[in-house]
Subunit: 248 residues, 2 copies
DNA sequence: AAGTGGTCTAGACCACCCC
DNA sequence: GGGTGGTCTAGACCACTTA
């Protein structure tokens, strides 16, 4: 027989504890282990991965931080209740993603898509020079054909080219941008209640003056560079926004 | 001379690594170390706390998770850029605190304060039995005498006693609760735009049907136990809500 | 009593940064 | 080259759960 080879490779493209994290996640996803199920004991996992207990526990700790596992002293390690994006403190979701999560179909009616010049306010929010060429798209967002919101988005053409060619009635802005390697990491948002303007009311098929939930967002990438301005007005009784506030 | 005593006690009310975390935080705050300053080397800190390097690193890792420190390989440990409350993703602020931050004075007109029984919905949200004795207070919240919102708060009397004796026209609910050692850590919030009911409109001195921003919150303590239900309706054009969404 | 996770150690080697 | 953090180990003891 040959020597028993370590399950995890010895030379390190990745630290052993990182490999253990990946291996455990793979086990959970591939074996389809459900929430609440028990893992093998730490000592067994050490044998299986051929690593020390300290190293294994570093991996387990990481998985706790990631919300994958929980430990119960004297009992064992258990798979944590699955937290979907909805349980995440404040996940930035596109309209399309939210629709999917709720089992609905998102679509749009395009009211306008053009390339123009950034106004003073827009330029300031985006951190570019006034007059910079920007792409604008105005859409009525619908869930299963029901108009839910009117969405005015704006971004510098330098962020992503060729946006005029996209079929905005079907495509998701977030999806399109991510295809073009634009990362959207944070959205600073201002929210208020307003009366629908005549124009907005007509687009959304509601009475003028009806309450709408207006949200203005500056979306930035991982380096805090603004990539997108978004102004959405949701029909008051057709949308709810969820968020979480925490206190130090 | 006596024996040199360990800096950290040997018998453990707290794990050694936890004590090290506290000691380092104390150093930073008491010595007023500024962002970007370097800490002693790991080996020095081990000597000082009389703990092993593994244990020290457990503490340092915790401080990284808490956003207090950052490590640079080959260079040392550094104090992370201070994140003020304003940089905090979503700080939970009371109406009074927000007013202070903006340099305004918060006051209230009390529409009702009583002890009653929790309804089925309230009991479910609070995680108590229906009929549990709860304290309710309804207030019109004002900034510099201008009515801004109507606030309906509810909490089990078991959380804090004697709430009927408080002068709610002047006191802050958060302030009163914190005096009674109730910690408010998280507020899961649902936000929507609504038309003001006749009752709400009268209380807020606006036209019936005007848009209001309605926010319902379940406020929980550090152990995720619900301590407070809050339903606030803000006058549409007198309030804006700020929040931040992030993406994985 | 046996098994589980929780904590802790002393020592080693490596990768990276700076002089 | 010398100092720093990054990783890893084998072994020990404790606290908690379960039977």
């Amino acid at each position: 027989m040959t020597d028993p080879r370590p399950v995890l490779v010895a030379d390190r493209p990745q630290p052993l504890w990182r490999q253990a994290v990946d291996a455990i996640i793979r086990d959970i996803t591939e074996l389809g282990l459900a929430e609440g199920m028990r893992l093998p004991t730490e000592r067994d996992l050490c044998l299986r991965f051929d690593i020390s207990r300290v190293t294994l526990r570093r991996a387990l700790q990481q998985l706790v931080d990631d919300g994958v596992l929980t430990a119960h002293q004297g009992r064992g390690w258990f798979i944590a209740p699955a937290v979907g994006p909805k349980d995440w403190p404040n996940s930035l979701e596109s309209f399309t993603e939210t629709a999917h999560r709720m089992g609905l179909t998102a679509s749009s009616r395009v009211l306008g898509a053009e390339i123009g010049q950034a106004t003073l306010d827009e330029a300031e929010a985006l951190g570019v020079a006034p007059g910079t060429r920007v792409f604008r798209v105005v859409r009525v967002r619908m869930l299963d054909r029901v108009p839910i919101a009117i969405d005015r988005a704006l971004l510098p053409v330098s962020v992503a080219p060729d946006l005029l060619d996209v079929d905005w009635a079907l495509e998701s802005l977030y999806g399109v941008l991510e295809q073009r390697d634009v990362t959207m990491h944070r959205a600073d948002s201002i929210i208020e209640a307003r009366s629908a303007s005549d124009e907005t009311a007509a687009a959304l098929d509601i009475a003028p003056g009806s309450p709408v939930l207006a949200m203005q967002q500056v979306v930035t990438d991982r380096d805090d560079r603004p990539v997108l301005l978004s102004a959405i007005e949701y029909v008051g009784d057709r949308y709810r926004l969820r968020t979480t506030f925490t206190r130090a």
